[in-house]
Symmetry: C2
Subunit: 567 residues, 2 copies
């Protein structure tokens, strides 16, 4: 018989509580939360705002449509929940938590044998004038989501500005513009969407899609302030002033660790609670998990911060097991990500090229475009994958993908995510064994092709450029430095050759051996096909003839199209 | 400068040839094949027969619509192909292959520095009378596929019988019945479809779907012979006679290793060519790969036979690299599988329960049903997953899945496939890190739930039965031995309680604590909910009260429905 107190009842708290109660049904669990809405799927908030999820109750319900409220936890789980109750302080010596019932201000003390901190994260707010005006929302909790939806459903919001192009910002931008038809702008201080998560090349494709969907995106812009009387009216950046009836401030989250810090528990310099693999804090009677803790980054081995509802749930189970005398472990995370962005999906596991380089890896990335299913199968989607690898060792540091809203891309990124902590090399990706049948995958699957391409590139057999370099050279084409050699059939090349006779030349790859003398030997040559496969073959043929100043455009015309380049 | 001869030009041969030529462009490659149709996607044959793929050329084309024929290999790849040419024998001492040009019978000798055997597999033919009648097809090559399609498109086929309910048999059954409306029967000697690949429980669900789609399935029936004048008219089994205008004999394949065996290369007792991780045969100048070789089963460590176009492609690359002086490895396979069966998909990685037990593992399996995406997200599909684990160690031996034709299930099986060779345990599945967002996955993903359930079951915390045991007990219900206790809300239970007042009782899980005295203490009790989650909770609550003769129906009513049980 133990007495367990859990602070926080959204994701990790309820999971730890329920797991523990299944293992030790006779012990007592008290869970407290400062809100009245508990145990909800916070990641579903953008879908509630968009209307895909019609009612906040749905986010708070089980899969069998029971609302996870106080009564549910009491009757179905034998767990007591104190809502509208805030934990004020922890007395670790006496093993007591001082709590306050918010509606009446009454204080009380809860004794514990073991305590669980599930205090989560809080959205950052930019320290700029006007940040607290009416109509400025962070996306912190379900109550706020209800307020946002009420505002947009009221019909008074014509223009919205989202500050921050991370996942939550972009999901909210989609929610506002897609269903509600609100003129939406996104302002981001970095030079790409999803900075720190996906690479520049892939981000550029997402940005083009945002544009296609009518969302205005302002990159490399800093918000200086928000203006309005009581209610926000304008967002002022260092480059422009945007009208706004509603502002979403989605500039990241930080761990809610004040209570832990005040109690003297060890925190990282960034303020996340330090835990071991058993999810114990520096006080073995206190566990913590979810968005308030630091985890081991399984790529670098260093502490890192991975806020995610999925992590929280899995850690909750580990804590529940350990509270009941078990020895479950949560070794850390490689960092995974997926999002819907209108009609496309973006995902990642591990590190982007930039993050790998920031972490001291001598890394490069390769990019492959291929159908998710057999190319002869009628239903199929192009999958765009980028693999980040360490030079020398060939170690795989991360993968990113872009695809349709079908799960073909998600499946490939998931398969890499599953092995990433075991330090795979490119040959593990080349040989990764996926189930194969034409309606699901290719005999040489896009994922295997990605590993092959990485190996070839690391070995210097495939000299590539990305679309960004292509654009640079294309814009300078009048200098005459670069020849653009189309390796596809004439039918594909004709339009470009006729439009740019000075710069664009057609030699189909299968004719290259016979027409070798047409290739200038003294000029930088960009080799182009639909996806980068035939241009790679052409490069090898040209190498053989001693023509080596050639660059294979990774992803080919498919990549240029996704970039939105209209040549 | 080497001279390479490759025997077989369908999957592995062309891959090895092209990879080698990219690495050693100046060396000479000669590829021979006894057919005139080469380098095609054999796995696409059922989709060509069904009409999803309209033309055989499509199976033989690159993704950029060039037909991979002799001319293509010569011009685009600088590889010589001798079609309609059969290899008669190998002189290993002189490093020569004796070949015959089939149209004119002329023989010739090809010298090699290194030889590659890509001779593939051949379909088995049952040794029964009538097996060679007209209208009896195996699905061995593209020419035969063209003949089958011609027959069905001619409109003279009203009834077809497929012998063998493996993947190819079922794919052909779908092709014949779905598009062509042919009355199709499948005869299988085993007691389930896909024997050796998926477990009984999952197979039963596939069988129900076949029935829904109008395919007649005769299990545990042995074909004794085929009857007809010149053309097949009837299939005679040990239980019935089936009319048939067309018969597909899909009773498995065997390695085409006669040439290798005659040359004295080492074969397994089953007749597959023995190769090492470099894909070298017992003669280091001869490589072999694809459907003619044995591979290491990475679960058991023993040699096994995994014919698959995907394996062949990846092995072809390994051979190409090694021919050029590299040191690439193919360490083996865990065995993966996926198929479309009308509106559903079935997949597996590693071993089914039965195969694990046949291989001496003390194994059990657990079964979980859950949505692939967040349960509050509007678009979602139920995913049915089975995990095969070793008792004691908790080692994961295999996974199987059933889902819709979206890729949610495929993604989960792929993620497990990726780690299976590294001997994961249930806790690796519990903690497997998939990218999470509501439109793609759940905070506690179905895969993580599968790991959790396996752990609980191994620890005796979740005592389960499958639908087959449920059926047994249900059919014996009048004995009064078993109570069927519905743990769902009254709305779900009402129909059953009113129909079976003697046997079916409703106590919603959240009311169980308060209504404990209504549960008989002296009776075997089956606990039922929609998917097995609430009934597991109920079991724990009853355990606590000392009522332990209870069994949680794995997969709940969702599993019963997929079985086609109409209670």
């Amino acid at each position: 018989m133990q007495s367990i107190v859990i602070i926080g009842a959204v994701a990790l708290g309820p999971k730890a509580a329920c797991r523990f109660k299944r293992l030790e049904p006779k012990s007592k669990v008290t869970m407290i939360d400062q809100s009245d809405l508990i145990s909800y799927g916070g990641c579903g908030i953008p879908y509630f705002v968009s209307g895909d999820v019609s009612d906040p109750d749905q986010l708070q319900s089980t899969s069998f449509h029971m609302i996870r409220d106080r009564k549910f936890f009491m009757e179905a789980k034998d767990i007591e929940v104190l809502t509208d109750t805030r934990a004020l302080s922890i007395d670790r010596k006496e093993k007591k938590v001082l709590v306050q019932h918010l509606p009446d201000g009454k204080e009380d003390t809860l004794s514990y044998d073991r305590l669980v901190l599930a205090t989560g994260s809080r959205p950052k707010r930019l320290p700029v004038p006007g940040a607290m005006l009416e109509g400025v929302y962070t996306v912190s909790n379900l109550n706020e989501a209800v307020a946002i939806k009420k505002a947009v459903a009221g019909g008074t919001v014509e223009r919205a500005v989202v500050i921050g192009a991370g996942a939550i910002g972009l999901e909210m931008a989609e929610a506002l513009s897609d269903l509600w038809g609100i003129e939406t702008s996104v302002v981001e201080v970095a030079d790409q969407i999803l900075p720190g998560i996906i690479g520049f090349n892939m981000a550029r494709m997402g940005q083009h899609h945002l544009k296609e969907k009518g969302v205005s995106l302002f990159l490399r812009e800093k918000v200086l302030g928000l203006k309005g009387e009581r209610h926000v009216e304008k967002v002022v950046t260092d480059k422009r002033v945007l009208d706004a009836d509603l502002v979403i401030m989605a500039v990241g989250v930080e761990p809610n660790s004040d209570l832990a810090g005040d109690a003297g528990l060890e925190l990282t310099p960034e303020g996340a609670i330090v835990v071991n693999e058993r999810m114990e804090t520096s006080d073995p009677a206190i566990y913590a998990g979810g968005d308030c803790v630091a985890l081991t980054d399984l790529i670098t081995g260093k502490p890192a911060y991975f806020p995610s509802g999925s992590m929280a749930n899995r850690q909750g189970r580990v804590i529940g097991t350990n509270l009941a005398g078990g020895d479950a472990r949560f070794e850390g995370a490689v960092g995974t990500f997926v999002m819907k962005l209108f009609d496309i999906s973006l995902a990642s596991a591990g590190m982007s090229l930039k993050r790998a380089q920031q972490n001291g890896f001598n890394a490069l990335s390769v990019f492959v475009v291929q159908f998710d299913r057999a190319h002869f199968y009628p239903d199929k989607d192009l999958v765009y994958l980028e693999l980040v690898v360490e030079k020398g060792t060939g170690r795989v540091l991360g993968v990113q993908g872009l695809g349709s809203m079908e799960m073909g891309m998600f499946a490939r990124v998931s398969a890499v995510a599953a092995i990433l902590k075991d330090r795979p090399t490119t040959s593990d990706i080349s040989n990764l064994e996926l189930p194969y049948a034409p309606p699901f995958s290719s005999a040489m699957d896009v994922l295997n092709a990605l590993g092959n391409t990485a190996e070839n590139t690391l070995q210097g057999k495939n000299r590539v450029i990305d679309a960004d370099r292509f654009v640079d050279w294309w814009l300078e084409r009048d200098s005459g430095d670069t020849l653009f050699l189309d390796c596809r059939g004439w039918g594909n090349a004709q339009y470009f050759v006729e439009k740019y006779p000075e710069h664009w030349k057609s030699i189909p790859q299968d004719e290259l051996r016979a027409r070798m003398e047409e290739v200038p030997k003294d000029k930088r040559t960009v080799l182009i096909c639909n996806t980068g496969v035939r241009s790679y073959e052409a490069q090898i043929t040209l190498d053989q003839m001693g023509i080596r100043d050639t660059y294979n455009l990774q992803g080919g015309v498919a990549a240029l199209k996704k970039w939105g380049l209209d040549l």
